[in-house]
Amino acid sequence: MNQMISLRGVEKLYAPGKPALIDVNTEIEQGEFVFLVGHSGSGKSTFIKLLLREIAPTKGQIIVAGQDLSKLKSWKVPYLRRNIGCVFQDFKLLPNKTTYENVAFALEVIGRSRHVIRTQVPEVLRLVGLEEKIGSYPDELSGGEQQRVSIARAFVNRPPLLLADEPTGNLDPATSLGIMSLLNRINKTGTTVLVATHDREMVDSMRKRVIALEGGRVIRDQNRGVYGYGD
């Protein structure tokens, strides 16, 4: 199988002497579903930002979807991001756009034709179970529904990789379960999914590969793992 993500000797310093990540060596293969767990400040967000090339590593090599990020010219970064779907804790929806418009926006701004937009947006909204809410504005939707919109937006372009940074952080357990099963369903279509979370129950119930970070280091990497911190 091909590698989707590969980190070799990656280190990130925000300020001298205070590394956010130290000596990270990890490979994630195409089609995998991986949890990235750890406390606040353990380096999860830095990990995600590095993959998105929002920041550059201080040391080491990162390859995402076949692209060596250290060699990637900055004007090519947008094209890298078209291969990565992104979901965040705070949904990041545009309040003045409807569900349909929010999802269509992601296709519009990468120059997809109207025809493509008209066929793909309803399809992905059906996949996330929101075909009824197509004309609703974000403030008319529940948190879980908003997160589904944001997942639809991340997935509408059918990226090979989906990153989710605390996607259930603002949601109650039942809703979180729905979001996770949706991510699982997306994973079944062949998309690689990486979820950064500190939602213990979720990780324990899903039994997926778990990479645990602490103080910027990978302290555990196991298949069919559990959250596994003592607290």
């Binding site: 090339r53 900055s74 078209r82 990041k92 545009l94 701004v109 109207r114 991340a154």
Partner: protein
């Protein structure tokens, strides 16, 4: 590309409508800045023309004694004409001088009536290529042997020459200062409007930073994000420039005729061609300010 263009046009127009207070602010800023710049350029052009017309009046008159031989006068005229500093040498005969004098004195008939014979000398009027060279030309004339032969008063050569040396020097000092002030003033105004527009557009971008953030996340290219803002900036600048041009045309139509009336001895004029040039300059300046202002403002938000 056709799809993109439609998107950009739609975006620019909706944004203009949605943020019209902000847009209005930008338009007014550009309008006022360009209006001030335009007025100072127009004033500068008028002043320049006036100064130039005064400068052109700087000539050297050589008075010729009665009874000087025509050959000598013609030889002097020829030798002066050959000088590289000289544009033209005109001969004014005694009779011509008297006619001119009578014309100028038409209001005071009694002075003319008192004249029994023609007291005026004939003269050679020397026009210079560059009026600033008047003193060196005077020296050259004084050194010319033919000048001493034909001069009205060979004993006092200075008296046979007339040129406004002191006036000329003061005039040139004055015009130089005016030109410098003009340039400094325009540069300052341009700076101010650039800063203002940069700020206005920065506010507009700040108001939409969330949208820009999402566009970057889903992989919109930088040019795709930038273009609607740049177009917005240019549209605002163009509207501001057109308003400024309209105001300047209206202003000059109101002011120039009055100036002409009060300053009838000077050439006060703003030709259509000059106005056209000024309009184009303001348009170009507006577009530049709009693009540069939004370009600078955007750079901060588009670092990847």
């Amino acid at each position: 590309m056709a799809i993109n263009f439609g998107y950009f046009a739609r975006e620019s127009i909706t944004n203009f409508r949605r943020n019209w207070v902000m847009s209005l602010g930008a338009v007014i800023t550009i309008y006022l800045s360009l209006l001030l710049v335009g007025i100072s350029i127009a004033t500068g052009i008028v002043v320049n023309d006036v100064v130039q017309s005064v400068e052109e009046k700087v000539t050297i008159q050589i008075f010729i004694k009665d009874g000087a031989s025509t050959e000598d006068v013609q030889a002097l005229q020829a030798s002066l004409s050959a000088d590289s500093l000289v544009a033209k040498v005109n001969y004014t005969s005694k009779d011509d001088a008297l006619t001119k004098f009578k014309e100028q004195m038409a209001d005071s008939q009694e002075i003319i009536d008192q004249l029994e014979e023609n007291p005026l000398p004939a003269s050679l009027d020397v026009e210079l290529v560059d009026p600033r060279e008047v003193s060196s030309m005077v020296e050259k004339i004084k050194a010319n042997e033919l000048f001493l032969v034909v001069a009205d008063r060979p004993d006092a050569p200075e008296e046979s020459l007339k040129y406004g040396q002191q006036i000329v020097d003061k005039l040139f000092a004055f015009t130089r200062v005016i030109r410098i002030i003009e340039i400094v003033f325009i540069a300052m105004l341009a700076m101010v409007s650039l800063i203002f527009i940069n700020n206005t557009i920065r506010l507009a971008i700040y108001a939409r930073r969330k949208e820009i953030g999402i566009m970057r996340l889903v992989g919109a290219s930088n040019w795709f994000i930038r273009t609607p803002f740049l177009m917005e900036g240019v549209i605002q600048a163009l509207i501001g420039a057109l308003l400024a041009i309209g105001s300047i045309i209206a202003l000059q139509a109101a002011v120039i005729p009055r100036l002409k009336e009060t300053l009838s001895f000077l050439v006060v004029e703003l030709s259509g061609g000059t106005l056209m040039q000024l309009s184009l300059t303001l348009m170009a300046a507006g577009i530049f300010i709009g693009l540069a202002g939004s370009g600078f403002a955007l750079r901060r938000y588009l670092k990847v």
